[in-house]
Amino acid sequence: MSLSFEPAVLQYLIVIATSLTASTAVGLKRGWKGQLMAFVPIVALWGLLGAKKEGLISAINTTYKGLLFFTSCGSQADTGACLQSSGIAEAMLVDPGNADQSRLLLLLVFVSAVVLVFTLVVRFSRPPTSLIQRLMGAVLGVANGFTLSYLLLPLLPYRQQINLPVASAAEEELPNIAQGLPSALSVPPVSVAAVVLVLFVLFVIVAVRLMRPAEV
């Protein structure tokens, strides 16, 4: 079976590698107890998000409408008329009918919650007392990392490239040089992106590791 290397696959790899690394690191630092403390709320939150997705989107849209109302009609004498004329009643930040938008919202909420839980566990739980506990934490961390990536993968966006609107009016008059350009690069863009990503991440990690404490 051949696996084509495309942006979606690279996204998969990033999610799996990040989940595994983060979860294993938490397991090593805080043992199997820390792992459980992190993972029970994560799985619970995932279930909650699945069950209450519509409620979350509705709450976000209601808050958005409230903000719009406050900024647009807050100073108006006739707020009812303002509400009708400005179209605030129909405004929405996340369209429930748009699967991409809903998925992106869930992804953002879920990733934020996972980062928060991991940070809290590393910050406030006790370190394991023995090497065995540490190793058990790491093993559980690997298993939990796979589970976490399994939860995250369905939420990923699969857009392959930016798709911005290009108006046609000026194109008729200006030479169209931006489209159909030949490329001398024989490697696919996603491979170049993978190299750029790896170099970038390595540079940041090395740079942060080499930083000296600030002198007071």
Partner: protein, 183 residues
Amino acid sequence: MGPLEVLWAVLIGVFAVVGVVRGYPRELGVTTTILAALLLLTKGGESVLRVLDSYLARYMQSSVVFEGHYSDLIQSLFYILVFVAVIVISYHGETLAFTGEAPRGPVGMALNLTSGLLNGYLVSGTMWHYLHTFNYPIQVLGLFRPPLTDFAQNYLVPLMPVTLLEPYLLFLVPFMIVMRVVR
């Protein structure tokens, strides 16, 4: 005006010098801001333009941003000016700077230089991307005359940061924030 890649290289050079002078802990803060700005622009830029267009359409009786004679120029300028504004704000202060100092000696110098080059690549490449996406609308203003050189067409356009990094910005922004926190 000379080839676009000369301007591109000069901008990267300027950012490299700035990186050497300021040090990479501050530059990494700017990198975080740049990536966040790219994420916002790629995910929400079009929505903001649509809101702006519907607002203007009330007064102009037609779509100005998406269908007018200067629609490409307006859209391109919107993305570039918002991006430049974010860059100016991120350099004006130390809000997201990483806490710490660069190591002394050639290693620190190399890291400072690399971070400056990285920011230069992200900034100048992003501005070029938005010119490219909208078919170089600065032609209208007489600021650029086509065609692009072979070198730019073959090697620089495919390496623009937005095209390469757009699908992965959702990972890179949290990564930078996490690196700043664990620091």
